[in-house]
Assembly symmetry: C2
Homo-oligomer: 174 residues x 2
DNA sequence: CCGGAATGGTTGTAGCTACAAGTTTGCTGG
DNA sequence: CCAGCAAACTTGTAGCTACAACCATTCCGG
C-alpha cells in the first residue's frame, strides 16, 4: 500500500514474477491430473463440486457462475457439455421462468466421489503441503486483498467468506 | 508442511478458495486491459518484454519458452503470430542449426514502450498496491514454495532468481 | 397498465492452448 | 563412423474461452 509510483522495484518485481509463473503453471498442472484421473477440467470439477454441496444438489446458473468465478456464457457451454455426458441436468426454475436450474445427477455425484481424492491430493501436493501453516493464512489474506482490488463492489466476497464459516468437514469435495 | 492427511481443514480450504478465485479472475482482467490498450495478450506482452530485456533483444525459442513459462508448441504459435504482425522476427541460430532465434523488431520495441505503462499500472492496481510491503515478500516466498512443488528439478528456479539480482531498474518493461 | 430497462440465459464464432505427430540437427557409445 | 537417441523446433487439430448478439421474462416508473 505504498505510494503509487510507476514501475516495480526489485522486491515487487520478484513477487510479480513468481505470481506470474504460478498463474501460468498451476492451472495446467491441476487440469492434467484431473483429466488423466477423471476426464474432467479443474473448472468442470469445481462446477460439479459446487453443485454437490448445494441444497438438493441444485443451483441456478447465475449462482453456479458466481461460485465458480465464471461468466455466464462460459458456464452455459460447460454445463451443456456436462449435460451431454449425463453428469448434470438442467430444468427451468419454477419460481422464475427466465432462470435455469442445474442439478447434479447420480452419475455426476459418483464422478465427484471418484475424482475428489486425487484432486484434493493434487491441491495439497502443489499448494497446501508446500506451505507452512502461517503461509496458508498469509495466502488467504493476500487473496482477499487481490480479490478486493479486482472486484471493489465485493459481490464475490460473500461467496468466499461463505467457506470461512462452513461446518461439517469431510462431507464435501475438498 | 503438516502431516499429509486427506481433505482440507477450514483454514486450508479458505486459502484454496481464494487462490482458485485469483487464478480464475486475474489473468482475464490483465488480458482485457492489455487487449484494449495495446491489442496484446498478457502472454504476448511477457514474450515481447522478455525479448526486450535480452542481449541484442534476441533469444532462442527454448530460452524464451522458459522465461515465459510456456511450452514450445504454444510459443511457436504465438511467435508466428507476432511475426506476422511485424513485432518479432525469427532466424536460424548460427551456432546450432536446429535452433531458432527470435528477435524483437523496432516495431516490437515500440509496442512494448507503448504498452508498458498501462500494464505495469494494472499489475500495481490489482496486485502490488493492494498488498502491504510485508505481503509482497510473503507472496514471493509462497510463490517459491509452490513453484518448487510444481517443478522439483528446479529448472525454472534459475530464471526466477535471475530477477532477484537484477540491477538497473527503470529500463525494463515492469 | 404499458413501454423501456434490467435480469437470466443461450448460441455463434473467432482465437488461443494442449496434445500428438513429424522434421531436422546434434550427440554418444560401440 | 554410424545407429540410435535426444534436442529443438513446427505443424495440425480438437476443444475450451471470450465476446457479441440474441431471445425471453420480469421489474418499474409514470
Amino acid at each position: 500500500m505504498t505510494v503509487n509510483t510507476p514501475w516495480l522495484d526489485r522486491r515487487q518485481l520478484r513477487a510479480w514474477i513468481r505470481l506470474r509463473a504460478v498463474l501460468e503453471l498451476l492451472p495446467g498442472t491441476l487440469d492434467t491430473q484431473l483429466r488423466n484421473d477423471a476426464n474432467l477440467t479443474e473448472f468442470e470439477y469445481t462446477a460439479l463440486a459446487m453443485l454437490s454441496e448445494a441444497p438438493d444438489r441444485t443451483l441456478r446458473m447465475t449462482g453456479l457462475a458466481q461460485r465458480t468465478n465464471a461468466t455466464l456464457p462460459r458456464l452455459s457451454h460447460v454445463v451443456a457439455r456436462l449435460e451431454k455426458r449425463g453428469l448434470v441436468e438442467r430444468f427451468p426454475c419454477p419460481e422464475n421462468r427466465r432462470a435455469t436450474n442445474a442439478r447434479l445427477t447420480q452419475e455426476g455425484w459418483a464422478k465427484v466421489l471418484q475424482a475428489a481424492p486425487g484432486h484434493v491430493a493434487a491441491v495439497r501436493r502443489y499448494v497446501i503441503d508446500a506451505l507452512t501453516d502461517e503461509q496458508v493464512d498469509q495466502l488467504t489474506a493476500i487473496g482477499d486483498a487481490v480479490l478486493a482490488a479486482l472486484d471493489p463492489s465485493g459481490k464475490g466476497a460473500v461467496l468466499y467468506t461463505h467457506y470461512d464459516e462452513e461446518q461439517d468437514p469431510g462431507q464435501g469435495s475438498y
